[in-house]
Symmetry: C2
Subunit: 246 residues, 2 copies
């Protein structure tokens, strides 16, 4: 029955295309395309309305996070699963963190005490490559420890500023995605923190929470502008020369 119906449908479509002129066919196809675009837009609007009715995004992630493959988050249209031996297709706290970071389209402001996690570094470098404006404020002492990714970010041309005072630690661990989404918690950007420690992260688009963190970032960014301080190390000079400061 189904085969017969499908065949007759195919026949009638074929007949139609024979009967219709090329101009008419283009008209139908054009109208179809417009209807498709409108439909997608309407679905988008509906999804936004549904999301708005639940209030701004609020998500809490706890660590340690099990080690799974996150390759599909970095390489778009990659065939799944990839060849690596890690478990595939599993969502973890770490993969959620990556998803939120990689959702940046315009800007990423990052304030982090310790940054040695290779995959988080890969995510930041990828955002920079995609044209996202990345600004990083970090700790003076911890940016030079073994395994720190701060040098790699600077080499790629990402603007990094560090706490200027040697008596103070820049102990924040927060990120601001597109000036809209706040990611904050106890998690330093290290492998131990992600895979071993008991840690937490909160992701929110609540403007009353996001706003103060954005102001704090801007305050730290301006306070640690190397142009306002005497040059103390090569890193400071490199920072001025290579990155496009805002």
């Amino acid at each position: 029955m189904h085969v017969a119906r499908a065949f007759s449908c195919h026949l009638s479509l074929a007949d139609m295309s024979h009967q219709m002129s090329f101009k008419e066919l283009m008209k139908v196809l054009g109208l179809g395309a417009v209807a498709l675009v409108l439909g997608v837009e309407w679905l988008n609007w509906l999804m936004r309305r549904l999301r708005d009715s639940r209030g701004p995004l609020k998500e809490v992630l706890f660590f340690p996070s099990p080690q799974v493959c996150v390759e599909h988050l970095f390489i778009r249209h990659k065939h799944f699963p990839c060849a690596c031996p890690l478990p595939h297709g599993i969502e973890t706290s770490f993969s959620r963190l990556l998803v939120h970071l990689l959702s940046a389209r315009m800007s990423l402001d990052l304030c982090v005490f310790s940054f040695s996690h290779m995959e988080l570094s890969r995510a930041i470098l990828l955002l920079h490559k995609r044209g996202v404006v990345v600004r990083v404020v970090t700790d003076r002492d911890y940016m030079t420890i073994t395994g720190s990714q701060i040098g790699a970010l600077r080499k790629a041309g990402i603007c990094v500023r560090h706490e200027m005072s040697s008596a103070v630690h820049m102990h924040h661990k927060f990120a601001l995605v597109d000036g809209r989404k706040l990611i904050t918690g106890s998690l330093n950007w290290t492998l131990t923190a992600v895979q071993s420690n008991k840690e937490n992260i909160m992701v929110t688009e609540e403007p009353e929470l996001m706003g103060p963190y954005q102001q704090e970032f801007q305050k730290l960014w301006e306070a640690n502008d190397p142009a306002n301080h005497k040059p103390q190390c090569t890193n400071g000079q490199l920072n001025i020369k290579t990155c496009k400061d805002r």
Copy 2:
């Protein structure tokens, strides 16, 4: 004019009390007291409605916090200012943190990596003395470092559990006040963190954020129950003997 009016008013009140019987006077005073209580209740209701219309509490605090006198937060009805040389009557991030902690009436669940701040320890001991049920989960290594206040809490009979694994750090820094208010951020409970470092704390009563932290606390509390682990140190045994575990 004003003096004359006040005088005549005083006279008429005196006349009234002369003319009114004792019973009538008591009636007026009783009604006045009822009106006052109702008025205060109504004001309270109005304040609650106004607060609710702004949504659940959301407050962000940044550190370092300047050193000011916080004595009035510990001793109720104390004459102000006290005799100490610190600045008085100034609200800071640290005083706001103390206000939120000392607002606990029923319970305080605390998950903190490093705890050596004397005034925060004093606040926790005061809550315990007031009958608030305090539970603490902390890090195994950091609870024994010089200046740690964990021993003082245990001596006072407060229930403290520590991360049982030696390979893992309990790196959270959050508190739950009366199962309703969440205090979380990058701030460890040390003097350096409060007075020197760049740190953040968020205080919120948003149920979607509070809920997951409450679950995480309960999970850690149960996972680190010394009754389920072989005794490894005196602290663990002391914990079982002295505090009333929930």
